[in-house]
Symmetry: C2
Subunit: 198 residues, 2 copies
């Protein structure tokens, strides 16, 4: 299967690339490194990525900058980080990607447990996640020709211990559990689903 991995050098992307590389043709995409350099906050950059890739079977996104910081520092400006990054960046991967899909292609986006289990300092990520979850449900009923779209929604992940202190009481998702979540979306037949890993 030809799989585009957006955010391939990140914590999640690195794991998925390692898990899939021997069985699939992976196109690693990153903002600073990879087979293709792309900035998901730029529609032109996303279009250029699809032009380079050509036909693909699945796109997986693990990318999504958000603003983390105290409530008092949340403003229109700081809130844009997640709005343009994790939310609109990922939505544009799909809105632009819909011109490049073939039948049975799939999109898997990254959401997160903060949608329902908020933590202080992370309101920006909660909004991006909530928007992404609603988007995959809405997009799933619009796509034709068996094109699928889902999201994986982990809480804090095993390989990001620097965040543990911000997630009191959240049991970290193991990298293997995360991999299972993406496996379900990419290799399964589901659509419009948010795979909750918490």
């Amino acid at each position: 299967m030809k799989i585009i991995v957006v955010g391939a050098s990140g914590t999640m992307g690195t794991h998925l690339v390692k898990a899939w590389k021997d069985k699939h043709e992976l196109i690693k995409v990153g903002s600073n490194s990879g087979d293709i350099i792309a900035d998901i906050t730029s529609p032109e950059s996303i279009k250029s990525m699809y032009e380079k890739v050509g036909r693909f079977d699945a796109l997986v996104s693990t990318a999504g900058p958000t603003y983390v910081g105290p409530w008092s520092t949340l403003t229109d400006d700081t809130f844009r980080k997640g709005l343009e990054g994790k939310l609109m960046g990922q939505i544009n991967l799909v809105l632009i990607g819909k011109d490049y899909v073939k039948p049975k292609s799939s999109f898997t986006l990254i959401a997160g447990g903060l949608t329902y289990e908020p933590q202080q300092n992370f309101a920006n990520a909660s909004v991006a996640n909530g928007g992404i979850e609603a988007f995959v449900r809405a997009a799933a009923i619009e796509f034709e020709k068996d094109v699928r779209i889902n999201a994986v929604s982990p809480t804090v992940i095993e390989n990001s211990p620097q965040y543990f202190k911000y997630f009191p009481g959240e049991i970290p998702v193991t990298m293997k559990q995360l991999e299972y979540g993406f496996d379900k979306c990419v290799f399964g037949a589901n659509t419009g689903q948010v795979v909750k890993l918490y």
Copy 2:
């Protein structure tokens, strides 16, 4: 109670104003009419609104432009309508409003059933709603001094029959049910709650 009603001349706002006007001091806000003219897509305009209002007990928002149209017409450009309007516009009412609140003030935003019950042509509204719902849960754990924030989430409403054809199988929410939803948020003690009216 001194209540700011943003979107006071809209379908929902008109009903709420009629229901509350004899018992409360209402500040009607609209983009074209009202006691104060304000554009929620402009942070400066929102700030100016709060400066004019002074101290308040509750802000209620029924405002939220979104893009409605076929999947093929969804692009970065068209998607901005709901992203800047119903989503970021309402979030900015809160992010800017947090500098003007007094203890026990409350915010009530408008979300919608499309978060979980998508309909074709309305993906933009689904995303705005999903983001707003996650936002009120996140903001509720950040506010101090008993400041509250909730959202009302109706499906298609009784007084908007022009939308019925787009919502097959959805039982329209009556204006009275909608009023109860807002009553619960404004006059109740709940916070971080999405009042589902479907």
